[in-house]
Amino acid sequence: MRGLARRLALALAAPLVLLGLWLALALLGWPGPRLVPAPALVASLAAHELTHAALWRDVGATLARVVIGVGVASALGAGLGFALGRSRRWRAASEPSIDFLRSIPPILTFPLFLLGLGYGERARLATVVFGCAGIVLLHVAAGLAAAPRERAEAVRLMGLGRLATARHLELPEALPGLILGVRVALATGLVIVIVTELLIGAPHGLGVRAREAQIAYQPAQLWLVIALSGALGALLSGLLARLGRRLTPWCAAPSSAPPST
């Protein structure tokens, strides 16, 4: 019980300090209400907006774009990363191309996709896939490439077939990297989706709401959008971390027991 209270206190410490700082700045009137609106104003706006469907429609639109985009990127990146991770030669051959592609800011490809795919969701989705597939690819390939040689050799000497080797060795070897890659990709995907929503072509979304709030001089609304974006990212990351712990129980504390077979 005492441990739980201690963990709760630690978890709440940073948000409480930030809230105190925010309150102090608002009371001092510095740097001004356009940048730092009063917490009470943002709280009352949140209480109002959270009960209205319009906000949830925007959250839902952004969430759907992130999940679909990162989902497609993960499938693509995992497949390519798996192929590259298994072959040193392929990895060496593709390294310069991967370095080149991942140096391109993904958002720069959005105008190109708008021209090529039209002013709709496909261009936004393509930008997310372009920005996130490489992240997943690199994590999966790195996970496989970093695996100790002794494990692969032990399985090779057992005479398992290709399919059994993929199932019993390579897939579990790649799984922690895949989960970590998808977590990183989710954060990047959220950034790309919101930036593309800010720019053009979306009827709904947190980015659209932020753009409209900026045009209408509503800093409290902007703070609400910023907080919701952070909460959305943290929620997705937390869910994936939970899923990861379930799928890769061997990565947890060694004292944990394997599932009984």
């Binding site: 100790p148 040689r149 002794e150 494990r151 050799e153 032990a154 399985v155 090779r156 000497l157 057992m158 005479g159 398992l160 077939g161 059994a164 019993h168 060795l169 579990p172 799984l175 890769t248 061997w250 060694p254 004292s255 944990s256 027991a257 394997p258 009984s260 077979t261």
Partner: protein, 245 residues
Amino acid sequence: MAVAALTASGAGLTAGAASSLPAAVVTLDGVAAPGLAPLSLRLTGGERVAILGPNGTGKTTLLRLLAGLARPSQGRLEVRAPPALVPQAFAASLLPWRSVRDNLLLPLQRARLPAAELEQRLGRALDAAALPSALLSRWPQALSGGEQQRVALARALMQPPGLLLLDEPMSALDIAARLAVRRALPALADQLGLTLVLVSHDVDDACALASRALLLGRVGQRLELALGDGGRPRLLRALGELCAG
């Protein structure tokens, strides 16, 4: 019996029936590799040989060649039995996503043996490796180094292989486990007709597990000794001369 032959020409692995061949399980004819000076050796089925010598004389390389994990740069190598290897980096060879039990059963994945046969082999391997069955339900990474080494040894005994290759297999074991393995492993090897190649720096391990020793020197010297009565002092003397020379 399966036959695997590797040649320096890179012709690679060949397989086929060899029912009328002599009983040699391993034949090395002037085999060399990076780190290993030319070596000729012949091992018959059921023989147990210890490889000793200073660091850097190619002992581990020799085991990797016998396991088919490396290719000779010259000479002819023939292995007529399925190999199993307990590597020096034993901990890294275990699959951390499988329990100890599942690690041990993996080599039998393709055999589709009845449950009773699996349990019998499991029990036999646990005994020979002095591994308590209470550890079967644990993650390998949750075990101590010595326990992990015994898991790797038990896994190698599960198939069972025709050729058991052990690279310092007791380096992490406490004295009780070491004595237990010294007692049980030769008995199991005799029972199953295993050919055993042991790389070790421990003269007592070598004398307990092997019936002859092959000493490798830094400048390509080779010395073969029979172990058995009076084997230990002979081996110590020979090792001393080899290291001094």
